[in-house]
Symmetry: D2
Subunit: 378 residues, 4 copies
């Protein structure tokens, strides 16, 4: 991986789950990859101001602010990371692009497809580079799967199956929050989890042509936090779809945010006419491969452990089977973004590519609502 | 399990995969369960006659024939096992019922839904007992799953997911056979595999109300056995559906007969508001259970190994984890059939219950063809 | 597998865990394998007489008795199965051999090495065939492992590791029984479990030359069943040894009867200079194989599911991955015994071969007691 | 975890596998944990000088040198990391301690036990803090295992089993290197891998009292790199031992550096009178727990996924099952070292504690050589 040598200054908005993850990536990317520019951790934005100060100290940022508009318009800053709750992505991204900053935005782009389209159109017209945080694509073993598919290890593709489940909304006694509203959260499991699975489907199989779908809110109300009555849950807990890809194959999609025991259960399998690949994110340093090769008595699924022969694993560790962590995928993602900034290619996925993923989750919601086959790009 | 004491004479039609499996069950059921009637292995039917003679000797049947009509009408015979290719089930079953025999028929009942309905109506009007070979339901660990669900171990049910895949049609170079025709084979993966999964869904969750579906023939032609050209494949290799159950929950169904590496990959998971159950048939002596009990730091999926506390495992072996085999599930199935014959209850599943499973697979085919939501029992 | 055509009459002593297992094997072997002689289930022995009558009826034996001496001396009987508690094996086997019967005896042969030697010497001088119930060797996937080793799939052997654990003595509150005494039970975990693991080591690696060992009784006393005080446990709960094989490789041996959660945890791995094999009995239809072949990025452990290409699996089922059961291994064992009876070869393992396994478990006990390296055949 | 607030200056010797791992830890520890002092990455030592310059730039160190003596004696430096080949540890550590630096040294301490004792005695007499790189102890799920044992989740401990295998010396065609010599490498698999397993045994079970052992060099010679003949391998490829712990329980130890397919196969299980724990490092975010609780029909091994309830996982990620990476364990290790430096407690393990682990691996080598029981602390 060749990455640029020009120093770049970073502004980070948000210090939660993904904010910290971005901060760690910025701190590590050069130490891991070597051949990247010096990054200046210039400014951090959080609310309130003393929290911003504290996190700037912890993460090693030079300056801090409680005003994100100040950050995105600060002339010293080259790259803006947006890691706030999803409903703020659009305004921040538009302003940052307008200010000429490269933008690394967490997924999904926006609460509505219209907003995501607007963000993408703005980005496309600008000269800046963008990237959306589909970090699971950066897993070396996923890239190995892609390489295996491309070299024909499983032959012609026949079918795709994918599931992405977690249990953060499995408990019926969890109180109502803004996550239950369309206004503040948009989609439910589709936006939080489903788009990750779609991103993998696009990476390994290709674009989706159309789909039919069904979804359900299994907890239509939740107790209000103050103990007084219940609030309505406006978005879906579970969503399922039957996919047709542009290349002619079919597939299935399933997602639930209410699946007890599933912590990061993004699993998929790809059927080919010579073999099969399968994967589960909870053991994301492993890939399973079956090939119809040699006598039947010796065939079986092979468990391949990620190692230094699966680039860029070797930048993290020279020994196979020692295991990358979730946070380290983000470092790979950042290295790709820096490479894109230095070169002529788009980052993968940029706003434009990510918009395609988000078209699919919104199409699933529409298809479920209207009972029709929805075409992704009519 | 209480089973009857009256001696019964058996006629077996067919000596292939399932014919042998029935023969072993007849030979073993009393030795395993004790409290069942003596069975007389009276007559075996196969073509040609010398093959019938040979298998009668091997399986321990007193008489043999190449004329199934002679068998089903033989006055000495009480029970008829039908294990021939599916297209013969209907005529054999109707004649056997007409002759007053109890009928144990392999799945699916028939190639078309109309035929299955006719068989069921005839059976319902007769006084005989029937049973259809949905052997996976008889697995002690599946019955333990049912018991756990009924006692509330995973709370209110929220969702079902099921897959049933094999690879017997995965090789694109396999020659064309009668299996590819609607006239001789009826449905494809739905009839061979899919109905098994539906039987499990009914056993553990309940009846399906309606569904939408999509299916595909990934190998639309196959080379003719004589090397001259190709033949058309008329039935589906892959079928997928989104299910709504009568109890209000949703689910997914997937099946492929062209899934490399899958040998008996019938897997399912059932989501509840207090936990989850999951299972895979390739390790069918294991059940996985997650429960939201105790502190989060100690929660996880528990792997329960089948043992003597999961009736009727103890009839086979007093030691847990030693493992039942595929053939042994058929012995349990037979014990249930003998119990039904001796008593007032129907066997599980009899023709009537099995018809419900088969309505679903035909509805999947229709929904895929017409693009509409199909209701199982309009 | 070629097996004889002469009819043989069977006498079975014992109707417990292994008695039932033998009975099922006798009932099934011809139906499974075809090419074996008719077996007459002639006489069954159990105490008291009415229990003998009841089990003779259940298992399909023509006659019954409560006098094992009558059975072993009955002129009609050709084969005697000995499935009683271990302390009775010697006297029954010696008498049966003296009476000219072929003897199928459960493992271990005897409580002491001296008794096992006497049994073996008597058997060797006689003209009868013997077999000892090391059923795990008969697993098709174990034989596939043997074939793979012989064809060089893992290259020159380097090392062996084996464990065999169960939890039937894990509960400290289990009352004292005769199993705790040297007089009635002989060895502890070594006799119950350990000899099975040694049998696998001999089958796949070869004879053991010498060893050092350490063992422990972790529950030195157990509560008496009547609630009055405790009884001493005289034999070992846990035994461990470091092995040197005659072919120059080393290995490890571990066994516990007090290992919570382990139901049939007989696991082993064999290291070679080109690859590795590993296995666990709780999933005994699976074999794992790693081979140093092809580029490192594609290497991994392959999980091979037992199927019809692993003889004689195909006699039970034509479909891979459907799974044999514990009881079915005994049918394979019996087929081999019948083949030995009909031919010139010894059964595997006969008393002579089994004696070698038992020399090892007694050597482990001695080495642990005296702290020295014990040579198996000095 | 409370860690100090005083700024500390770091000197790092070595930039290989472990050198990079230390560098990443230094870069991340504050961003991860917050409550730690500012660290100054002051000086990096590597050979030759231009490589030192390059890595200083990559890892973010202010100064660089090719003279480790200059580094350990530099007055600005507070902490010295020693990550060079093992044979250099002693001299560097002694000089650093003499210069009053806190020393974080990779394992093992030294090639010989005598050298490790000298290092420990020197460290004990000094006022500096030391830590040895037994990073696997820092895994949150290992600490959860420790907590479970201490709270009695598996009852009284009965037995320990441990294996640590890799395959970096499995290929017989690998050329001879200095790793094969006692002078430059000391022990073989015991020093590279075995001491890690011993560290876990001490952490979870306690000190070892004595042992017997056997080891083997399975490739006694290796081809010379220049293609001319072979060189002798002086240290062991495989080592095995039977352990007795000071608390009276027994255990087994196995290690191989020539085990094909094993990439980081450090596995262990701990048997208790109420349950069992088991673990495998290749899936180090998982812990398996069996408890004899509730009815037998519901018992099984539970797979617990690491999550934010297993401190300090929550400092890395708020979501369970997302997975820490190998490098992140080193960050936890460093946080503990900084805490020790700021407080009165020793780091875990410091030289003194690590010496106990290394006594065991040397005792295994001696016991194998002389055939006697070796006592760890006679």
């Amino acid at each position: 991986m060749t990455v640029p040598k020009t120093a770049l200054k970073v502004g980070l908005i948000g210090t939660g789950y993904m904010g910290k993850c971005h901060a760690l990536a910025y701190r590590n990317v050069k130490a891991i990859f070597g051949d990247v520019p010096d990054l200046g951790l210039e400014m951090l934005c959080e609310l309130p101001l003393d929290k911003a100060a504290s996190f700037a100290d912890q993460f090693g940022f030079s300056r801090h602010t409680d005003d994100w508009k100040a950050l995105v318009n600060d002339p010293a800053i080259d790259i803006v990371s947006i890691t706030t709750p999803n409903k703020f992505h659009k305004e921040m991204a538009l302003d940052a692009i307008k200010a000429g900053k490269h933008v690394w935005c967490e997924k999904p782009l926006a609460l509505t497809l219209e907003d995501a389209i607007e963000m993408t159109e703005t980005a496309e017209k600008s000269g800046v580079k963008t990237q959306v945080g589909y970090n699971y694509l950066k897993n070396p073993i996923i890239q190995e799967a892609k390489r295996l598919i491309e070299e024909g290890a499983i032959g012609r593709l026949l079918h795709f199956r994918g599931v992405v489940d977690e249990d953060y909304q499995a408990d019926p006694n969890l109180p109502w929050t803004w996550r239950a509203t369309k206004a503040d959260a948009g989609l439910g499991t589709l936006g939080d989890l489903g788009c990750h699975l779609i991103s993998v489907a696009y990476e390994l199989v290709g674009p989706i042509e159309s789909l039919i779908a069904d979804m359900q809110t299994v907890y239509p109300t939740r107790p209000m936090p103050d103990g007084n009555g219940v609030g309505n849950v406006e978005n879906e807990d579970i969503a399922s779809a039957l996919l047709r890809f542009e290349n002619g194959i079919t597939g299935t999609f399933s997602s639930s945010r209410s699946a007890w025991g599933r912590k990061n259960h993004l699993i998929w399998e790809i059927h080919g006419d010579k073999g099969m690949l399968s994967f589960t994110q909870e053991r994301f340093n492993e890939l399973k491969l079956y090939q119809n090769e040699g006598p039947a008595c010796g065939q079986g699924f092979k468990t391949i452990l990620a190692g230094p022969t699966h680039a860029p694993y070797q930048n993290f560790c020279p020994a196979a089977g020692h295991g990358l962590g979730f946070n380290e995928l983000k470092v790979i993602e950042l290295a790709g973004f820096l490479q894109a900034i230095a070169g002529d290619e788009a980052a993968q996925p940029d706003f434009k590519a990510a918009l395609e993923f988000e078209k699919v989750i919104h199409a699933i919601a529409r298809a479920s609502d209207n009972g029709n086959r929805e075409v992704i790009n009519p």
